[in-house]
């Protein structure tokens, strides 16, 4: 079943029934397994995998923050609420080269828009005083690869 849905659902009126027929199971077995995996978090999201560059989302910025360790949760909660933030992770500092311990991604249609969205974000909340850096990507040299790449948006 895992293999059957890995490449995506068939685009037919009853896709779960189609999968069930492929693997010799009942439709109910397929849907209850999917629901179970979603509850467990094995399936993180069940939706579209879109090519964001093709939709005009060509500016992809990694914004990194140097947050006091005891405030990371609070700041992350503020970031996670922002509509434009698509990912937010805590990662280790690597001193002395790298001071930043909170990473988020903002996807936008151009750099000016991303900068404005970041400025707007920093107007409210307690974000204004935090040291941060915005790292735009110049070029996507490789967008796929890796055995589990379909599951990971973590560096995207």
């Amino acid at each position: 079943m895992f293999a059957a849905i890995e490449q995506g659902l068939p685009l037919v009126a009853q896709p779960y029934l189609a999968i069930a027929e492929q693997i010799d199971a009942s439709e109910e077995q397929v849907t209850s397994t999917i629901n179970h995996w979603q509850k467990q978090g094995v399936i993180r999201r069940f939706g579209l995998v879109i090519r964001h560059r093709k939709l005009g989302y060509v500016a992809n910025a990694m914004v990194v923050w140097n947050v006091d360790d005891e405030c990371v949760e609070d700041v992350a909660a503020i970031l996670a609420k922002q509509k434009v933030v698509t990912l937010c992770y805590r990662r280790p500092r690597v001193l002395p080269e790298w001071n930043y311990n909170l990473f988020c991604m903002i996807h936008g249609k151009d750099r000016a828009q991303v900068i404005k969205q970041l400025d707007d974000m920093c107007q409210h909340g307690d974000l204004a005083g935090i040291e941060k850096k915005i790292l735009f990507s110049n070029k996507a040299y490789k967008q796929r690869g890796g055995k589990y790449s379909q599951a990971s948006a973590s560096g995207n």
Partner: protein, 147 residues
Amino acid sequence: MDALDKRILNRTQRGIPVSEQPFADIASELDCSEDEVINKLQHMLDDGLLSRFGPMYDAASLGGAFTLSAMQVPEERFDEVTEIVNAFSEVAHNYKRQHRLNMWFVVACESQQEIQSVIKDIEQQSSLPVYDFPKEEEFYVGLYLPV
């Protein structure tokens, strides 16, 4: 892309119902027909706007291991080092970014050990250090790009 394409794209990004006729459910929400939803999604797949639709697995809960890595690559060596790094099948999403650490990529393996060995190999082949930024805590993942 017409207005209905956009509504279908925005609606389905948020998730596909797990029901007998998921596209009919979406159609009734969007006030169009089931055929329209299916046909329009098929067009978007054919046009390459969508790569697929269905499950996004959480690789960590399947036993996979990831890290975000960065390198400081001298400008004149950038192409050469890109080739070295991208040759690893474990490397995904390699981006050039504007910073002293100018190359950022994800390493995806089945185990932590493999990650460390890939990083070591990249360091050896490039003669450059690789900085390792594994995810310590995940606060939010919700890639939603309204059109």
